[in-house]
């Protein structure tokens, strides 16, 4: 019987992990942590908060992988000066969360300043005991944005 314990633990592990995933507040906290890490160019935090299969699509419709997005922040190509965010809604579906919100961003890309008002949709997955961003899509809701 004792031989079956590791197998039982393996089979029950997903349920134990799911039980710790928290509620909407945990999703909101992960989103805020992600914005904070981007603002402070905190690469180790971004590594934890972004899923390896991240699909990060900007308001321009261009999409980046996790490595490309982090690379832009690490190299200084993308520098955030200010981020003010608001998560309007979170929908939880087992180990997946969908969130909607808005964010005001002041940043430079390749040295060019940008000030944007963005509406966004994010999909997060509960993996390795934490919420990780897997999909980001956004729309500029400022018609003057370049």
């Amino acid at each position: 019987m004792e031989n079956l314990l590791p197998l039982a633990a393996l089979l029950l592990a997903p349920f134990a992990q799911a039980a710790g995933r928290g509620d909407e507040a945990a999703v909101r906290a992960a989103i805020e942590a992600r914005f904070g890490a981007a603002l402070h160019a905190d690469i180790p935090a971004l590594e934890r908060l972004l899923a390896d299969d991240l699909d990060y699509c900007s308001y321009l419709g261009t999409c980046q992988t996790k490595g490309q997005y982090i690379g832009d922040i690490e190299s200084g190509v993308l520098k955030y000066q200010a981020i003010t965010s608001k998560t309007d809604k979170v929908k939880l579906f087992a180990d997946t969360a969908v969130a909607l919100g808005r964010v005001d961003v002041t940043a430079t890309r390749n040295g060019e300043p940008r000030s944007l008002h963005i509406a966004w949709t994010a999909v997060l997955a509960w993996r390795a005991g934490r919420w990780q961003l897997t999909t980001w899509s956004s729309t500029s809701i400022d018609p003057e944005a370049k």
Partner: protein
């Protein structure tokens, strides 16, 4: 007893393998169903097929247009039905499709010719949408699109 000790774990491993095979088949079939639902939804928009949209859209839909306007399921279907939002043509290209449990996420591009409140315009959007597997079918619960810059003249 020795036989039981080795047979039971082996049987469980075989069972786990069979279940994972079943899950894989389910994922493949759900992926195909999701692609089909996406195409059907674009077609339903162009055909102003309110009955199809009722099936394909989740009651909790949030439809964020490329101009920032937000619709719910009923307001979106109403505007398609009364012609204030008239999709004249759409040419979607699915660029990515992922499934997380009962949630599907699609990313793509679409050439859209649309008449809104009588004003016709043509543009390309980048979009992402989120679908839920509910009641034995995919239903779209989120839509977000962003208008792409016009292609430079050739």
């Amino acid at each position: 007893m020795k036989t039981r000790r080795t047979t039971l774990p082996a049987a469980l491993i075989v069972l786990a393998a069979l279940l994972s095979g079943t899950c894989l088949a389910k994922d493949n079939s759900r992926e195909a169903a999701l692609r089909a639902a996406e195409i059907a939804r674009f077609e339903a928009n162009v055909n102003a097929d309110a009955a199809a949209l009722e099936r394909l859209l989740d009651a909790g839909l949030e439809y964020s247009h490329s101009n920032g306007k937000l619709d719910g399921k009923s307001s979106f279907i109403a505007s398609v039905k009364d012609g204030s939002l008239d999709y004249l043509s759409t040419e979607p290209t699915i660029q990515g499709l992922r499934i997380f449990g009962d949630v599907g996420v699609i990313r793509g591009l679409a050439k859209v010719r649309v008449s809104m409140d009588g004003k016709t315009s043509e543009f390309t959007i980048g979009y992402s949408d989120v679908w839920l597997w509910k009641d034995g079918r995919w239903q779209m619960t989120e839509w977000r699109s962003t208008r792409l810059p016009d292609a430079p003249p050739k």
